[in-house]
């Protein structure tokens, strides 16, 4: 393939890439939502991730799995949002218009879920990412490892520490 040909983007290539990404799009939005807690932001982050994926599609080795590669880009987009001055200004209190998840019931269980939501928000980006991938998207440890670029053992260790921090956080809430 010549240099000029390599730079030429055909409509077929665009359509093919969109078709490959389409099945992962909802999962990308769920990952973004788990990290950013705002539907509009989550959708924007997924769109931005799709564009970044398109631009760096030639970095994806032939035959390798698109899913962890794309979800890793989504996670990076979420991190970029959280690092922005705009996010820091608006993250406390939560962004206006962010849809609050509907509590399944009132009473003790609802309070526990509310506390857990707050505790998740207080986790670091990396800890929250592992928890979201593992317990929200229900990915197995090896896929979480592929997304985060860590070993399976490191993912388990991070998940363990994150859960430990959640527990301590929630216990301190209980004490308060």
């Amino acid at each position: 393939m010549g240099f000029a040909a390599a730079l030429t983007v055909t409509a077929d290539e665009t359509a093919d890439f969109e078709a490959r990404l389409q099945p992962l799009y909802r999962e990308a939005i769920r990952l973004s939502y788990g990290m950013l807690r705002n539907s509009a932001l989550a959708e924007d982050a997924a769109q931005e991730a799709a564009l970044r994926a398109w631009r760096s599609r030639r970095n994806l080795r032939e035959g390798s799995d698109l899913r962890p590669w794309f979800l890793a880009i989504v996670a990076n987009c979420c991190r970029d949002v959280q690092r922005s001055a705009w996010w820091r200004l608006r993250s406390s209190p939560p962004p206006e218009g962010s849809p609050e998840p509907v509590a399944p019931a009132t009473g003790e269980y609802s309070a526990a879920i509310h506390d857990l939501r707050d505790a998740l928000r207080r986790l670091s980006h990396r800890d929250r990412l592992v928890i979201v991938l593992r317990y929200y998207l229900d990915l197995p440890h090896d896929e979480v490892a592929a997304v985060t670029g860590q070993s399976v053992a490191a993912v388990r260790a991070r998940a363990s520490r994150a859960l430990h921090r959640l527990r301590i956080d929630l216990e301190s809430e209980d004490d308060a």
Partner: protein
């Protein structure tokens, strides 16, 4: 939330806490993504992107000019003054070595340790926390329980694991190569298996390595300690959980003629494969509930094994008293809480679990007490004798590991210093 949750219950709570996003239904296409890209980049700044970009360029050029000016001034000031007849300042071109001979000048970051007695051990690591690659690999040797260290030659590769069987015979492994020495590290020779080496252990005059191809099953490689003649031992796929291809990380254990490997398929089928004839034949035993698998397996002897199992937010401790033929959960009076912790033991009653802290039990797991908590991300390496053992810890916020040692079976721990 502070009660014991199964993985499924934990998932349900996390999902309920996060909720589900409201989808706009506008779907996905690259054209929309491109249109929204500019909006994304300047989201929330409250100004139009174009003037902002111009302002940014002006600021960038200004900063560049300022940096060049400062650099020029610093350079002019740093030029050496000529030494005149009256003897002006003359800069020395030699640096005074400040480190102990044999030790790196900019610190040593340990990553693995192996010992043949309480006094003689080798520590694998790198020079300085920012150093990486084969040239930064260093092996330190002590024969006085860490009072003094000497640096020994290393294999010409980025070594990630190290084991010594005695003072002369040792093995290290890099990505696909097992390196061996039979003269205490003076000379190393390599055997490239072409597949990833993920684990290596020695016992009873033999050395074992787990070798895994990309996405394929793993095999067990074995050599006599003195020969460097490796033979391939197949791990019987029929005994492994369906879908599992690779052993759990760090689960290779050898003791006498016994060999153990733990496997998990991520769907609740967790097994230990054991051989009592140096890896020739294997049988399997069920271990650990839950879909998170076997976090850690440790053989105290040919009869007694301990395991840490990942179960939701918590950990279960399992034990075998018959060489791994059967395993049973150890009744715990409290939570060990490190669901991916490592475990090592000195007897059927004494064990240390490492996770967010180091916890010791001396009553067979009925109770655990925290013996060290000034760090995070603990990893217990194991015990050389019933008293002497090692663990790695990472201080909160630190990027490099520290090595800790116990001389009393895990009751008290001391940091090993390399200065």
């Amino acid at each position: 939330m502070t009660d014991r949750l199964t993985p499924d219950a934990l998932r349900a709570r996390v999902r309920a806490a996060i909720g589900e996003p409201e989808m706009s239904g506008r779907g996905f296409d690259l054209g929309t993504a491109r249109r929204r890209h500019r909006e994304w980049r300047f989201r929330g700044w409250g100004v139009d992107p174009a003037p902002l970009r111009v302002a940014g360029m002006v600021a960038l050029v200004s900063a560049l000019v300022a940096v060049l000016t400062v650099a020029l001034v610093v350079h002019l000031h740093s030029l050496p003054s000529p030494a005149g007849p009256s003897g002006g300042p003359v800069r020395s071109s030699t640096l005074q070595a400040s480190a102990t001979p044999g030790l790196p000048a900019d610190g040593f970051v340990p990553s693995d340790v192996t010992a043949v007695s309480a006094d003689e051990w080798w520590v694998l690591g790198t020079d300085g926390s920012g150093c990486a690659g084969a040239s930064c690999t260093r092996i330190l040797h002590t024969v006085d329980a860490g009072q003094t260290f000497t640096s020994i030659p290393t294999p010409p590769a980025s070594v990630v694991g190290l084991r010594f069987l005695d003072s002369e015979d040792g093995w290290a492994y890099s990505s696909t190569t097992v390196w061996s020495t039979h003269d205490g590290g003076e000379n190393w020779s390599g055997m490239d298996f072409g597949t990833s080496i993920t684990d290596l252990e020695t016992s009873g005059g033999l050395v074992y390595a787990v070798s895994c191809g990309s996405g394929s099953d793993c095999s067990l490689e074995r050599s006599k300690a003195s020969s460097d003649a490796w033979e391939n031992l197949a791990i019987p796929a029929a005994l492994m959980p369906s879908g599992a291809t690779q052993p759990e990380a760090g689960s290779l254990n050898v003791h006498g003629s016994s060999v153990w490997l733990a496997f998990s398929n991520g769907e609740g089928d967790n097994r230990v494969l054991r051989s009592t004839d140096d890896g020739i034949q294997f049988s399997q035993a069920t271990i650990c509930p839950g879909d998170s698998g076997v976090a850690s397996l440790y053989a105290v002897s040919t009869a007694d094994l301990w395991a840490a199992c990942s179960v939701g937010m918590y950990e279960e401790v399992w034990r075998s008293l018959d060489g791994g033929a059967t395993f049973a959960a150890v009744p715990l009076s409290g939570d060990v809480e490190t669901n991916s912790g490592t475990i090592a033991a000195t007897s059927v009653t004494s064990a240390v679990v490492a996770g967010t802290s180091l916890k010791l039990t001396v009553d067979g797991g009925q109770s655990f007490q925290v013996v060290l908590d000034n760090g995070d991300n603990w990893r217990i390496v194991g015990f050389t004798t019933s008293d002497a053992g090692f663990a790695f810890g990472r201080q909160p916020g630190a990027s490099s590991l520290t090595l800790w040692r116990t001389d009393d079976g895990g009751s008290t721990w001391h940091q090993v210093l390399f200065s």
